[in-house]
């Protein structure tokens, strides 16, 4: 069965510092991968998605993610974090069988 692992439950970075959130997936075929962000009391907002093609995908709010098939990873990055980026981030796998498989989430805290 497919699965998504986000090894970091909680990360704290200083404003202006770079960010990398880790995501590993397990799936026997080419996955569709997403990163969603959830701010407190808000729904899930799509940051970016990978379906095929280029392994580096650009998203909203200055985020990007790199798909590495050899490592089964889809890490999210941002070169300079803003205080408004504090939220919970979910890596999500879609096998095309309708239901999404969510990672457990990484909560990002931004220090001034």
């Amino acid at each position: 069965a497919q699965s998504v692992t986000q090894p970091d439950i909680h990360i704290t970075v200083s404003e202006g510092a770079s960010l990398e959130l880790r995501c590993n997936y397990s799936y026997g075929a080419t996955p569709y991968l997403f990163w969603y962000v959830q701010s407190p009391g808000q729904g899930l907002q799509l940051l970016l998605k990978y379906f095929s093609g280029d392994t580096l995908v650009q998203g909203i709010k200055g985020f990007e993610a790199e798909f590495k098939r050899s490592q089964s990873s889809f890490n999210l990055r941002k070169p300079s974090v803003h205080w408004s980026d504090a939220a919970e981030y979910f890596c999500v796998l879609d096998t095309g069988r309708r239901a999404l498989t969510f990672g457990s989430g990484t909560r990002l805290q931004v220090q001034p």
Binding site: Y36, L46, R98
Partner: protein
């Protein structure tokens, strides 16, 4: 509308009562999904509707849970005889379509926070 909307945003109920949660998908989206987000369980798929096809109910945790989608648009998730373990945020999502082996991006509503006392 511009996005997926859900109502109510918060619902507090007593154990044993029935509740109904509503979802309005993005106009034109044929696929609609319900998920549950709870502490310790993360985000779980509940049920999926695609057009006029029979819904995929494989994620519903018990027969107390049911959902319908009227006219291919609005959906209602009903929980009968609520239990404390039903307390969670219930999220609805819609996508333009869901085609065979490919997929389409799911857009989420803000959720309904259900508290069962």
């Amino acid at each position: 509308g511009a996005g997926v909307s859900q109502s109510p945003s918060n619902k507090v109920t007593e154990k044993g009562k029935d509740v109904e949660l509503r979802c309005d998908p993005i106009s034109g989206h044929t696929a609609l999904y319900w998920y549950r987000q709870s502490l310790g369980q993360g985000l779980e798929f509940l049920i999926y509707f695609q057009g006029n096809s029979a819904p995929d109910k494989s994620g519903l945790p018990s027969d107390r849970f049911s959902a319908e989608r009227t006219g291919g648009s609005v959906s209602t998730l009903t929980i009968q005889r609520t239990q404390q373990e039903d307390s969670a945020v219930y999220l609805c999502a819609s996508s333009l379509t869901q085609r065979g082996g490919s997929t389409d991006t799911q857009y989420f509503g803000p959720g309904t926070r259900l508290t069962v006392l």
